[in-house]
């Protein structure tokens, strides 16, 4: 049985819910069981946002994540809040252009990606989230980078077709990122 619990957290407006949705759809196309649970309410209008995504090859029990296998932290309060909840042997992805703090745990794998700066440099400043998702997929072969184009196609509405290419660009930047 393989179940991956992914917690994504940051500010409202960073595309936290969208990147979660992307991973959920990715799981759907891989024929996995998935659940996606957003924080809702005032935090959607600025402040903090987070999103619970579970991908599993067996039916998902509780959709609420208390001990994530993977944490994506897009701001410092989120990292501080969740860093100790990550399971031993888990992964933490840190947007290091927004967070200068380091993770003081040696039982987890930590990836520091200056995603917000990279996105700015490439003129895709709203897509730091997808750079991190690209890196996550590259590091987790069982989720696999293959097939991302299909998911982008599904998720980006036709009215915003130009965003498809930009999302693909962000995902590739993350995939190819070496520190």
């Amino acid at each position: 049985m393989k179940t991956t619990q992914i917690l994504i957290a940051g500010f409202g407006g960073q595309g936290i819910l969208f990147s979660g949705k992307f991973l959920a759809y990715k799981g759907l196309t891989e024929e996995l069981q998935v659940s996606w649970l957003p924080s809702y309410g005032p935090e959607m209008r600025g402040g903090t946002a987070n999103c619970n995504v579970i991908l599993s090859d067996t039916p998902v029990g509780s959709p609420i994540i208390t001990t994530p296998d993977v944490l994506i932290a897009m701001n410092l309060p989120s990292l501080e809040k969740y860093v100790n909840s990550v399971v031993s042997g888990g992964q933490i992805y840190v947007d290091s252009s927004l967070i200068s703090a380091k993770v003081e745990r040696d039982d987890v794998e930590v990836f520091y990606i200056p995603a917000t700066q990279m996105a700015k440099d490439e003129g895709i400043s709203s897509l730091a989230n997808m750079i991190i998702v690209g890196h996550l997929l590259e590091n987790n072969p069982e989720l696999s980078f293959d097939g991302v184009a299909e998911v982008v196609e599904k998720l980006v509405p036709p009215k915003k077709a130009a965003l498809k290419e930009l999302n693909m660009k962000a995902l590739s930047l993350g995939k190819d990122y070496k520190k």
Binding site: L37, Y40, V60, S62, P63, I64, T66
Partner: protein, 351 residues
């Protein structure tokens, strides 16, 4: 097989309602169920249906009453404080024997409370809410797929028994996305000879009303209605047994609480504790038969997002012959699997 699509629980209710033949939706926005109204606003005009955002919850439930009296498949949806406002209309609908579907995506209370998930409207849904002797069929989905299937079931039961079916969900199931498939559901249509459809000068006038000033008439009506309720209690109870075959400890939970409880049951099983779960799917009628079958259980634990409401029905179902413990969070908080596991361990020790 139909395609798996990702959908929010709230959207699944709306889509299922349309597939069940509902063409009339009246509502008023409130978090965390607004996606239902939004979905209806987008879809209904395209399929010749009616979406109307009323001036208040009270207006919307009375529009439901009117459309139901006219024989239409009709629904409204709201969240806890909004359902309190609809209580008067729910009582009138019950007193007039017309079918309707009402959705409550619960949030924390009392009062305006909060907007996070809750199950503290259990009493309101299963024991009344409005005034007078009446019942509603109360369905408790635990997944996005069930948000859809129980909506379809709810419309069917409402028409079959000429009464209100309530979907008692919560903010988590409403807001979460899961894969869902829409198989082509078989929709039964019911003759409604009592409906206000126009006489065309061919029949006597139908009257839909809840006013009976002669006490003996009102008593007779109430007795008749309770005969119907007895039939429903006999025929319509639904529940899921999970690892109950050899269970010595029985967790009882519905909706989102049952999802967390399943994780806790799996954890306790890994420790060698013989524990199972009864998940009521209908809250009224309460699935008493499930408890009669759980004869190996030495103790029960009611897991709820409330101060303990369903626990009273668990005590009644077990005839108070075995200990029933409460494991609960409230106000928008959800118990963790660890908290439920601790409760299971304590129950093993008889605490």
């Amino acid at each position: 097989m139909a395609e798996r699509i990702l959908m929010k629980g709230n959207e699944a209710i709306a889509e299922a309602a349309i597939r069940a033949g509902c063409r009339h939706y009246f509502g008023y926005p409130i978090t965390p169920q607004t996606e239902i109204a939004a979905y209806m606003a987008k879809k209904m005009p395209k399929i010749g249906g009616v979406f109307l955002q009323a001036e208040s919850e009270i207006a919307s439930i009375n529009m439901v009453y009117g459309a139901a009296a006219a024989g239409m498949r009709v629904m409204t949806s709201s969240s806890s404080p909004g359902i309190s406002l609809k209580a008067e209309g729910l009582s009138y609908i019950a007193g007039s024997d017309v079918p309707a579907l009402v959705v409550n995506v619960q949030r924390g209370g009392p009062g305006l409370g909060g907007i996070q998930p809750s199950q503290s409207d259990y009493f309101q849904a299963t024991k009344g809410g409005g005034h007078g002797d009446y019942r509603m069929i109360v369905l408790a989905p635990a997944s996005v797929q069930e948000m859809a299937s129980l909506t379809i079931k709810g419309f069917d039961l409402a028409d079959k028994y000429r009464m209100t079916s309530m979907i008692l969900a919560d903010g988590t199931i409403g807001q979460m996305m899961e894969p869902i498939t829409f198989e082509d559901a078989e929709i039964t249509t019911y003759e409604k000879p009592w409906a206000l459809t126009g006489t065309e000068c061919k029949r006597k006038h139908n009257v839909v009303n809840s006013l009976y000033l002669k006490p003996d008439e009102l008593e007779r009506k109430n007795f008749e209605r309770y005969e119907k309720y007895a039939e429903i209690e006999k025929n319509e109870a639904m529940w899921e047994d999970y690892m109950m075959d050899d269970a010595e400890i029985c967790v009882v939970a519905f909706g989102i609480a049952s999802r967390v409880a399943k994780n806790a049951v799996a954890m306790a099983r890994a420790e060698g504790i013989k524990v199972g779960l009864i998940r009521p799917i209908t809250l009224w009628p309460f699935p008493n038969a499930a408890f009669e079958a759980a004869d190996k259980a030495k103790a029960f634990i009611s897991v709820e997002l409330s101060m303990g409401q369903m626990i009273e029905d668990v005590k009644l179902a077990t005839k108070c012959q075995k200990p029933v413990y409460l494991c609960n969070r409230t106000g928008g908080m959800i118990p963790s699997p660890d908290e439920i596991l601790a409760s299971i361990r304590n129950a093993m020790k008889g605490e």
